[in-house]
């Protein structure tokens, strides 16, 4: 890691600083951005009506939520977790098991999934939080691998067959989730709530502290902040949201499988964030859309090349546009504004 004395400018992971932007350009979001969001919202609301395949869109939303949760940690706390699949997948299993084997209602099943992810987040956090950067990445990766093996061997996960045929049931005993459209609007509502929630977290007093930690950790300590606790809370929040995404996915797909906990899933969520733009709000959503869409399309067309193509995208992202699509767009707009 770079020593404090080094003058070589170390480019940190690109982190957009909404506060700073707001401070400079006055309050409020840019009009164009607001229209984009509005348009997307409308599109999301009518998606099943205009013939988009609802199961696919739901899956996409679940992964978008997962990527947003991940980005809360990487983009806004500066911690790269290479083990987020553990929360996503473990919660998926827990929800699946409670709903299928114990006959719980879907909302209780999801709650159980989120709580289990949060607990797991605490365990991971306590072990890993004291280290930073790549150390943190590697430790979370190793811990998640442990969760993977636990899921492989635990009796309730169905081993390599996974938990299959999880019933969607009725939400609060009334809403029949079996209907794809009902399920769709529930997932959409949860997603929007979480998206706004993350926005709030980032700008909250707590989010301010996270930002300080990211910017200059020793200084935050000297101001009297117990940084490890803040990081831990951020980690647990992110883990819980990732768990929520996993739980929802179980209900949507009616499955929980080993691939949800595998480390390649952690890799995928990183790719989503990176591609869309780490530290931007909308980037992860876009990234998730592209990755999931691409996988869906490529799986048939190129077969064995999928891995290679994903790898190439990774390399290109890192080499050519580190800020991700949304990040580059924002930078471009900034430059254009600056020129004016």
């Amino acid at each position: 890691m770079s020593t404090p004395s080094s003058t070589v400018a170390v480019e940190e992971l690109p982190v957009e600083t909404p506060n700073a932007a707001v401070a400079r350009h006055g309050q409020g979001m840019n009009k164009a951005v607001r229209f984009t969001y509005l348009g997307l919202l409308v599109l999301a609301l009518v998606a099943p009506l205009i013939g988009l395949y609802p199961v696919f869109v739901m899956k996409l939303l679940c992964f978008a939520l997962f990527a947003c949760a991940f980005n809360l940690l990487l983009g806004f706390t500066g911690l790269l977790s290479f083990g987020h699949a553990a929360f996503f997948g473990f919660a998926a299993y827990v929800t699946g098991w409670f709903v299928k084997a114990q006959g719980w209602t879907p909302e209780l099943g999801v709650l159980a999934g989120v709580v289990s992810a949060a607990l797991l987040g605490i365990v991971f956090g306590v072990v890993a939080i004291r280290r930073q950067g790549i150390y943190f990445a590697m430790i979370t990766l190793a811990l998640s691998q442990m969760v993977f093996f636990l899921c492989l061997q635990a009796p309730f996960t169905g081993g390599e067959d996974g938990l299959q045929g999880v019933p969607r049931g009725k939400l609060f005993g009334v809403l029949p989730l079996v209907d794809d459209r009902v399920m769709y609007y529930v997932v959409l509502a949860v997603f929007i709530a979480c998206f706004l929630g993350i926005l709030r977290i980032v700008t909250s007093p707590f989010g301010q502290v996270l930002k300080m930690i990211r910017e200059n950790e020793p200084r935050a300590i000297s101001l009297g902040y117990e940084v490890d606790r803040y990081k831990l809370l951020a980690f647990v929040l992110s883990a819980s949201l990732a768990g929520l995404a996993g739980s929802l996915k179980t209900l949507v797909m009616k499955f929980a499988t080993l691939s949800d906990v595998h480390w390649s899933m952690s890799g995928e969520v990183i790719l989503m964030s990176l591609l869309g733009g780490v530290g931007t709000f909308f980037g992860p959503v876009l990234g998730a859309g592209i990755v999931i869409g691409l996988q869906n399309m490529l799986a048939d067309k190129v077969g064995e090349w999928v891995t290679v193509i994903i790898g190439v995208i990774f390399v290109l992202c890192v080499l050519a546009f580190r800020k991700g699509i949304v990040g580059e767009l924002m930078a471009w707009r900034e430059r254009r504004n600056a020129k004016r």
Partner: protein
């Protein structure tokens, strides 16, 4: 005589086997530690390079009849050359950036390498036989140890010690260590740092390739052999203390043994024992067993 309910002899036998596995961990984590310690890159492609090493040996034998002994020299050179290319083409552009980018880039590269080999050779492995000179086994009294495995232990420990000496005790090693911290400054002192960095990455890659050749006769050569191993090796490096060369070697050997013994006493846990140890070590010593407190 029995130890924890298993015969004394079997116990010694398992210890010995653990050491063999540890030798692989040691070599791989050594290369990883060298690259990390000196270039600040977590080389996710290490597993893939290890796989390429094994494949290089196999292809050379299969296509041109190149013997094991030649492969032992040539394959690491080939993998080292690939390393050089990777460094020149990609990693070079990432110096001075957050080290996480290096991790992500090499992760992408490992996907590419693995995917390409998988596409070309499928996943059900290729077999590579033990060279004649080392075939057969020696009866150690408590177990029958295949000669080849004994050779693996000797070869790997020798390589590890040599590397450690080079880095910690020579002038070149001092350049390398200093270059890690502030490459520009070392270069300003008159050292050709870019060349040094390229060669170091190449050497780290070559170590992975060498481990691959050593492994080829004992496990099947498949495109997935690297990714199956790499995460455990990461854990080894974390336990040893990242950046500590000697630490990663000793930890590698030790964990091989611990894992081996777990297979006897509680086989179900043998896959996760390394991670459990990692968690415990990190709670007690966040910097790892041999790592310096940051």
């Amino acid at each position: 005589m029995e130890i924890f309910g298993i015969p004394h002899q079997a116990f010694l036998g398992q210890l010995m086997l653990g050491l063999v596995n540890g030798a692989f961990y040691a070599m791989l984590s050594l290369g990883l530690a060298v690259i990390f310690g000196l270039l600040d890159i977590v080389n996710f492609a290490h597993g893939a390079l290890y796989m390429v090493g094994a494949f290089a040996a196999w292809i050379m034998l299969d296509k041109w009849g190149v013997s094991y002994w030649w492969a032992l020299v040539l394959a690491p050179l080939i993998v080292g050359a690939i390393g050089v290319v990777i460094e020149r083409l990609f990693l070079k552009r990432l110096y001075g950036l957050d080290p996480l980018y290096g991790l992500l880039l090499t992760f992408g590269l490992s996907l590419i390498l693995e995917g390409a080999f998988r596409r070309e050779y499928g996943v059900s492995g290729q077999s590579y036989s033990v060279p004649d000179l080392l075939s057969g086994a020696t009866n150690l009294g408590f177990m029958i140890l295949p000669n080849y495995r004994a050779w693996v232990v000797v070869a790997s420990i020798t390589v590890c010690l040599a590397t450690w000496f080079l880095i910690e005790r020579t002038r070149l090693g001092a350049y390398l260590r200093a270059g890690t911290e502030n490459a520009k400054l070392v270069q300003a002192f008159g050292v050709n740092v870019p060349l040094m960095v390229t060669l170091t990455y190449g050497a780290g890659a070559a170590l992975a390739g060498l481990a691959g050749v050593l492994a080829a006769p004992v496990i099947q050569v498949t495109p997935l052999m690297g990714s199956n191993l790499i995460i455990v090796v990461f854990a080894v490096v974390v336990i040893g203390g990242m950046g500590s060369i000697l630490g990663s070697v000793i930890t590698g050997l030790l964990l091989g043994i611990v894992e081996g013994l777990t297979r006897v006493f509680y086989p179900e846990a043998s896959n996760i024992v390394v991670f459990v140890i990692m968690a415990i070590v990190l709670m007690v010593r966040p910097a790892g067993l041999f790592g310096k407190e940051a």
